[in-house]
């Protein structure tokens, strides 16, 4: 049995995952908890948010996020990758900053608009 606190929403349900019983999840109050509990016991993932340098814009940084969760163990490596790129203004919410981050199949996308100065 593994115990987790669900992070899918601010409620923070206390989950129990039974590894010997096909990763059955209990303690959840919605289906997101089942998905999270299973993933946490097998391959935990996290959405990473950070900033990226933007050249020639009205602000020198834009915020970014991984479009979906990436494996938790790759988070620090992902940060090195995110810190190595620079974008050129203008950038818009949804623009792809890094395609297929660390071969995870997941893009890093822009989450704030920066206009060209």
């Amino acid at each position: 049995m593994k115990k987790f606190i669900c992070i899918m929403c601010p409620k923070g349900c206390h989950l129990t995952v039974d590894e010997d019983n096909d990763y059955r999840v209990s303690g959840n109050s919605c289906n997101k908890g089942v998905k999270y509990g299973k993933a946490e016991a097998t391959n935990p993932i996290r959405v990473v948010t950070s900033t990226v340098i933007v050249n020639g814009g009205n602000n020198q940084l834009c915020s970014v996020k991984t479009a979906d969760g990436i494996p938790k163990k790759s988070v620090l490596e992902a940060m090195r990758e995110i810190n190595s790129v620079q974008l050129k203004a203008p950038v818009k919410i949804g623009d792809v900053a890094i395609e297929n981050l660390l071969d995870t199949g997941i893009d890093v996308v822009v989450t704030s608009d920066i206009q060209a100065s």
């Binding site: 987790f4 606190i5 929403c9 601010p10 948010t49 950070s50 900033t51 940084l61 940060m79 919410i93």
Partner: protein, 420 residues
């Protein structure tokens, strides 16, 4: 003469202005002191916003952008880089900015949406020397996420409020070493999910019932002394631990920013530090409404949005319908284990079928029930598992329950229920 002036262009102001516009008020002005709309959401680059309102998980800037886009499709006017100096009781708004200088604007109604600010080292009086390197967590967040400066390399965080937890992760991801998060209370002040994904994920220790008892350093922070506290929050001698660090981030609470409310002579609640509000978010002055963190500090922006839509819609009714304000109201009292309730006053005539009350408790409950009492008599109760001080609770009150109140006073209490 405007119909409605909204002070503050953060999530509360944007939602209130938009809601009033949707209800038919066309002559609206939003006044914002920063150079862009969105408020603190712009520096909250982490995700987790919008699950209630947009039914998807957004980052702060994305959440703000949705509302800014909605506002831009309307005829709502926006004044940026403009400071409101004073609001008078007869709804004159004194402003100053670079282009127009000093101006006095007139309006039929106002929404106060000024938000809150952080408690500082001075507010909690940490002993020790006064070197550089002591920041409030939100200031550090702005430096890191918007200006591009990492504020330190070896960090201690005091207080386990959400911004502190979020910054513990953020500083770690940017290469700083976060040594510990120190919390004076025996429980965390932040959301459980933030403890898990910001501290536990990065093996940052959370020291509950501990506090900083000395800051050492000449020019920059060099050392921090952390001590355990007992149940009366008194330092336990002999428990001192010394951390070598260069930075302290403070996440020790937020204070609603009510200088303008005081100037306008709004009645304030000493528990929330915000204005008293009625069920429709109207303050003690008819036609002045308030919403968001200026009224009470929220955990989730989604709840700020919901409250602000209520305030904006109510302001619209005030402007368009000009109906007489009812004079009868119920007072809501904070009962056992309840630290505050918003709204503090309810006018039954203004309620269609039910109304919502928001409150916080002063201890952790595994299983509890919420009691609605009047003159000691229980009018309604509701079971609830897991209530913590760090998370705002909500209950719905039906008109049927309100009808049972006899002496104009309603009390909200929370009590422990033993598990069967």
């Amino acid at each position: 003469m405007y119909e409605l002036i909204v002070i503050g262009g953060g999530p509360a102001g944007l939602a209130a202005a938009f809601a009033a516009y949707e209800k038919g008020v066309k002559d609206i002005l939003i006044i914002e002191r920063d150079q862009k709309l969105g408020g603190i959401l712009n520096q909250c680059i982490h995700n987790g916003f919008g699950l209630h309102y947009f039914k998807e998980e957004l980052t702060g800037p994305e959440y703000a952008a949705r509302f800014i886009d909605m506002i831009q499709q309307t005829t709502i006017n926006v004044l940026l880089d403009t400071m409101v100096l004073e609001v008078t009781e007869n709804k004159e708004v004194h402003i100053v900015n670079k282009e127009q200088g000093y101006q006095i604007l007139k309006t039929k109604a106002l929404v106060f949406a000024m938000g809150c600010r952080e408690r500082t080292r001075g507010a909690i009086g940490i002993p020790g020397s006064r070197p550089a390197g002591v920041f409030t967590a939100g200031t550090a967040q702005r430096y890191v996420n918007m200006e591009g400066y990492l504020v330190g390399k070896k960090v201690i965080i005091l207080g386990s409020g959400d911004i502190g937890l979020i910054m513990a992760r953020r500083m770690t991801l940017e290469g700083a070493d976060v040594l510990a998060c120190v919390e004076v209370m025996p429980y965390s002040g932040g959301l459980t999910r933030n403890i898990v994904q910001c501290l536990d994920d990065y093996k940052i220790p959370l020291l509950l019932s501990h506090t900083i008892t000395e800051i050492r350093g000449k020019n920059r922070v060099e050392q921090v002394v952390v001590s355990e506290v007992d149940e009366n929050r008194q330092t336990v001698m002999g428990t001192e631990q010394i951390f070598d660090c260069d930075t302290i981030l403070l996440s020790v609470g937020l204070i609603p920013e009510n200088e303008l409310s005081r100037d306008a002579n709004l009645e304030l609640d000493s528990k929330t530090n915000g204005p008293f509000v009625y069920e429709n978010m109207e303050t003690s002055i008819p036609g002045i409404f308030a919403c968001g963190n200026v009224v009470h500090v929220h955990d989730l922006v989604d709840f700020v949005t919901a409250e602000s839509i209520k305030a904006g819609s109510s302001a619209a009714s005030y402007i368009l319908e000009q109906e007489n304000e009812p004079t009868q109201f119920l007072n809501i009292k904070n009962g056992d284990h309840v630290t505050y309730v918003v709204p503090q006053k309810i006018r039954e005539e203004k309620i269609d079928r039910r109304t919502e009350l928001f409150f916080r408790v002063n201890k952790v409950f595994d299983d509890s029930q919420i009691l609605i009492k009047s003159q000691g008599e229980i009018l309604a109760k509701q079971k609830k598992s897991y209530i913590v001080p760090g998370e705002m609770e909500k209950i719905k009150l039906s008109k049927k329950v309100l009808d049972k109140v006899t002496n104009g006073e309603l009390e909200i209490c929370v009590e422990e229920v033993s598990r069967v």
